[in-house]
């Protein structure tokens, strides 16, 4: 990077300014701006098709954008010269469908990226991977293949896999949407602990109770714009915009 931006922790770690994204003629994000400070947990909620997932997928450059700017630690994500690999080492992502590597055991899933991408030593990585699996309460499952684990267990392996890269920010894209109700809790608990440890998190979620409990700030999106945002209590108890009110009345 020619002009390495100087980022200090008192500036937003992630900053979106007037982000526009379209798929062909369909404009999915119509000018979205938001800031996330280090250690903050923000939740993005909103009806299906409102662009929530697209929004966070733009943050680690899985999707490109047409206009606006996204910075992570002061670095422009959509700069064509950006080293995407460097960005993705800082930004972890967990998906709705877990997307574990089916041909690797839980432990190998967690170890793969640090070994192959960060080229760290095997003994080190293995020790850390074991700790991470213990942290997501999966001791004893190290040698299980994803196909032998429940949805909730797979999702926790996916979280551990992301954490193994030591990211500064974690993105969670509807991580409980595909889970059985009884396994949702264990995944949410893991995320809650992570948030309590000070990990910066952006969550797209439909779990309103969880959002209220864990988030520092809630953003409500509809049809590609942020309709309303605020701290959880204000947001859930004193929503201003009629669209927010309607959504909340339907979902709560």
């Amino acid at each position: 990077m020619s002009n390495t931006p100087t980022w200090t922790p008192d500036q937003p770690i992630i900053s979106l300014k007037d982000v526009r994204k379209s798929f062909g003629d369909l404009e999915v994000l119509k000018g979205v701006s938001l800031d996330v400070m280090k250690g903050e947990v923000i939740c993005i909620i909103g009806p299906s098709g409102s662009g929530k997932s697209t929004l966070i997928r733009c943050v680690n450059a899985l999707n490109d954008i047409q206009a606006g700017s996204i910075t992570v630690e002061g670095q422009e994500v959509h700069d064509p010269d950006l080293d995407k690999l460097e960005l993705r080492k800082k930004v972890g992502m967990v998906f709705q469908q877990y997307n574990l590597f089916p041909h690797k055991t839980a432990l190998e899933n967690v170890m793969m990226a640090p070994l192959k991408v960060l080229k760290q030593g095997k003994a080190d990585v293995e020790e850390r991977a074991m700790k991470l699996l213990a942290k997501v309460r999966l001791q004893g499952k190290e040698n299980s293949y994803p196909g032998e684990l429940s949805g909730g267990q797979q999702q926790r392996v996916a979280i551990a896999r992301s954490l193994a890269m030591n990211p500064d920010v974690m993105l969670f894209d509807e991580v409980t949407a595909a889970l059985d109700p009884e396994t949702v809790k264990e995944v949410l608990l893991t995320i809650k602990e992570l948030a309590a440890e000070g990990m910066t998190c952006i969550l797209v979620t439909h779990e309103m109770g969880f959002a209220r409990e864990v988030a520092d700030h809630i953003y409500f999106t509809d049809r590609g714009v942020i309709v309303e945002h605020g701290p959880p209590d204000t947001f859930f108890d004193a929503a201003q915009d009629p669209r927010t009110k309607e959504f909340l009345s339907q979902i709560l």
């Binding site: 690999l85 930004v91 997307n99 574990l100 590597f101 992301s162």
Partner: protein, 298 residues
Amino acid sequence: MKSKHIPGIHQQNQTDLPVLHSFKRRYRSPSEIGFSEWLAGLPAWVPFLVLLAAAAWPMTALAQGSNYTTGQAFEALLRWIPFLVGSGFFLTIVISFLTMLVGTVLGVFLGLGQISQNRFIAKFCWLVTQTFRNSPWLVLLFIVMLSFPFEITIGDTIIPIPDWIKAVIGLALPIMANISEIVRGAINSVPTAQWEASESLAFTRFQTLFQIILPQCIKRMIPPWMNWYAILTMATPIVSILGVEEVLNLTRQAIEAEDNHPELLVPFYSFVLVIFFIYCYPIARLTVRLERRFAVKL
């Protein structure tokens, strides 16, 4: 109502009630097992029945009114068997091995080229694949046979290129194209979410392909690959047309050496049929078994 299973033919179970069938693709991709399934479905005694029928074949002898008997024909066959197998069928196997080796190496590169992000490379590899997949094998063989030199001169040394090497090149072209499709199809059968997951873990495209995607689909490629090996082996006799001295060519020469008695035809060619069967049948059975096992596993 139970319908009898016909090897190689997939039939829906019959019923009088209206039934909504699940959507099924009519088109069978090259990676699906067709030939091996059919071959493996044959009972093992089928070609031996042919050989038996050949033994009981007195008609021609009667019609010709010659003194040459079926017994003599089989005696002649026994005399020729070591040569036909050791020289002829051995070359058939060498040709099939080398063709498969060359075709696989080139096909893997071509298949990977088809999924290249460089649009020119992808389009080019697609075109090469489609061209050779849709060309008659015999035409490709003729082109290679006639357009390649029979020797290369480097300085003072003349390196001859035997016919069978040219046959290998000619046969390797369609094999290459079909392997290319197997590779492309297998890679595309892995959900794109796998690409995204490894991308977001900062794997490069190359790392993703070789460490995440290919290890997942390599098993899926083995049965169709073996299927093509069986098809290829069965097809090698066409190189006899171009004078390569493989088993079919030598069989014809053997019959001629035995004074061309018509009684020789059935025993000799049945024997060729049987050795091909003995060689390909186990491969087909194994292919179908692997296909079933991998289908359940992943």
